[in-house]
């Protein structure tokens, strides 16, 4: 393990301990379970965020795009609204967290494949062009969501609204259990492809030349990314924008191209940012700010510091 990885891991561990035990009365079961629940959510979200962002960047062969910038989360919210409108809030399907999750994931997987076929397969496409398309699609999804909200029964509006803002308030033990199950099964499934990911970053021709079935591997990874983004959006709402800071910081700190190590490092950095932000919200800011605002503030400032440092070199 490199020096950076050790430092990041220690810092992440320290933040986790601080998050759980800071001014805590260990005998108070209510507070302790609440904190552990939130910490567990943040760990899951960090993992999904790190994997989905880093692998997405490898597949799209650049380091600016993230699932969030390509409109994934807005699509998740839109799909929830569409399902609510089609079936009504009384429907068992909408109430069942599992089915609404499966529905959104299916839509996002279809979207991933469309993006890949239309934009990424031909790597000669300009990255700014792809970025623009992603931003326009994201705006389109969120505008459609807002438009549809007008047509929604005010009683049902609250349900949609909670999906649109990131917060740790709405996780519960059973959603966490489902999320854990999904993430664990998925990571187990993609674990065997870790070695092939490194070859993937050399591009399609070299991957095929080195005996890696590029197209098949990319399809599997896109499926995994869609599921992971769905998990994190379902858990805490749109938050993966922070992915761009996390990946930027990771690439600047790491001295390797090995995906196993990069993804580990990115997960650690994401966890530090998130526990740090949530800690500040709970103990310093008195619950006045949303998680995503604070994370972007923290991540963004550190990212700028790193960039300025690099420019000076």
């Amino acid at each position: 393990m490199s020096r950076q990885a050790v430092i990041i891991n220690l810092a992440a561990l320290l933040m986790m301990v601080l998050f759980v035990f800071f001014r805590a009365d260990i005998s108070d079961v209510f507070i302790m379970t609440g904190r552990l629940e939130r910490l567990f959510t943040l760990v899951l979200v960090s993992l999904t965020l790190a994997y989905s962002t880093i692998v997405f960047q490898t597949i799209s062969a650049n380091r600016i795009l993230t699932p969030s910038l390509m409109g994934y989360e807005h699509l998740f919210v839109l799909s929830q609204v569409l399902m609510l409108m089609a079936l009504g809030s009384g429907s068992e399907l909408v109430r069942s967290k599992v089915w609404s999750f499966v529905f959104s994931t299916a839509i996002m997987t279809a979207y991933s494949f469309a993006l890949y076929v239309l934009l990424f397969r031909n790597h000669k496409k300009n990255v700014y062009y792809i970025l623009l398309i992603g931003l326009v699609l994201g705006m389109f999804f969120s505008a459609t969501t807002q438009f549809l909200q007008m047509a929604i029964d005010p009683n049902e509006y609250g349900y949609v609204q909670s999906a649109m803002f990131s917060s740790l308030g709405r996780t519960s033990i059973d959603t966490l259990a489902i999320a854990l199950l999904v993430v664990a099964a998925l990571l187990l499934y993609v674990k065997r492809y870790f070695r092939y990911l490194d070859v993937l970053s050399l591009g399609r021709e070299y991957a095929l030349g080195l005996g890696v079935d590029y197209d098949d591997l990319v399809r599997k990874q896109l499926l995994a990314i869609s599921v992971l983004v769905s998990v994190s959006t379902a858990l805490v709402g749109p938050i993966t924008f922070v992915g761009i800071f996390v990946s930027g910081i990771t690439y600047r700190l790491s001295a390797t191209a090995s995906h196993a190590r990069i993804i580990g490092l990115a997960a650690g950095i994401a966890l530090i940012l998130m526990t740090g932000a949530q800690f500040a919200i709970e103990h310093i800011l008195n619950y006045r700010h949303s998680l995503s605002v604070l994370i972007n503030l923290l991540g963004g400032s550190y990212f700028f510091v790193l960039m300025i440092k690099q420019l000076r070199k």
């Binding site: 050399l202 021709e205 030349g209």
Partner: protein
């Protein structure tokens, strides 16, 4: 031996290769030459199975190219691209290590390390083996990727414009390595080459393509003459020979 039978390839409505039939001998340096848009790179990527032909078949040592499983093909045939990624945190030795992927799936063993060392020695890269690929020059990067292909240890080696953007020293280095691979190790190298003089001096066998059709193919000594080259490129040539080299002059005629 590679047999190409009535291959056609279209990009959209635009035909790139029109009913091409060729046989490429084993154990030679084979150059694909011709003007821009002749279909040279397309033909090479069809042989590497990176793309599928619209019609026709390609056989490699008597077996249809499509019958090879990907894992077998990657131990028999390797491909060097025209453009390389270089914004990765990869060391030169790690790039070369990727060449062993078909053999050991990323878990390098004793034999892999030996092949990597041989490739480093052959390309004379020991001075920069621990440098990251974004820190070295374009020519050194080309040598590093060629070393990766050498470490892949395949009978057939396909090179897509290996001399692109290289200075004279690097270009000569690469062509001499290609000759060694064929002479000492019995490999077959098929390369798209734009510089007619490199093709004429270093290859045993030469294929001239123009507008998606074969203009000529055969041993270099018989193919490189003023009439053939004019037919291929549409400009006048004057060919000068001495004991060691042949020079195709087209600069001022």
């Amino acid at each position: 031996m590679i047999e190409i039978q009535s291959i056609c390839k279209k990009y959209g409505q635009h035909p790139v290769l029109k009913n091409i039939s060729l046989s490429i001998p084993k154990g030679k340096v084979v150059s694909l030459i011709g003007p821009n848009g002749a279909g040279k790179s397309t033909l090479l990527s069809l042989i590497a199975r990176l793309e599928k032909p619209g019609q026709g078949t390609i056989t490699l040592d008597g077996i249809g190219l499509n019958s090879y499983p990907l894992s077998t093909l990657s131990k028999k045939l390797s491909f060097l691209k025209q453009h390389h990624v270089f914004d990765l945190k990869l060391k030169v030795s790690e790039i070369i290590g990727f060449g062993r992927f078909p053999h050991s799936q990323g878990r390098l063993n004793q034999e892999d390390h030996q092949k990597i060392e041989e490739a480093i020695a052959m390309m004379d890269l020991s001075a920069i083996r621990d440098a990251y690929i974004d820190e070295i020059s374009g020519g050194q990067r080309q040598l590093a990727f060629l070393a990766m292909i050498i470490a892949q240890d395949t009978e057939y080696i396909l090179l897509d414009e290996p001399l692109n953007n290289l200075d004279m020293k690097h270009a000569v280095d690469i062509m001499q390595t290609v000759r060694r691979l064929v002479r000492d190790f019995g490999r077959t190298v098929i390369a798209v080459i734009h510089d007619i003089n490199f093709a004429a001096n270093y290859s045993d066998y030469i294929v001239g393509l123009k507008g998606g059709e074969v203009v000529f193919c055969g041993e270099t000594a018989h193919m490189v003459n003023e009439e053939m080259l004019r037919k291929l490129y549409g400009i006048d040539f004057r060919i000068m020979r001495d004991d060691t080299t042949v020079l195709c002059n087209y600069y001022k005629i």
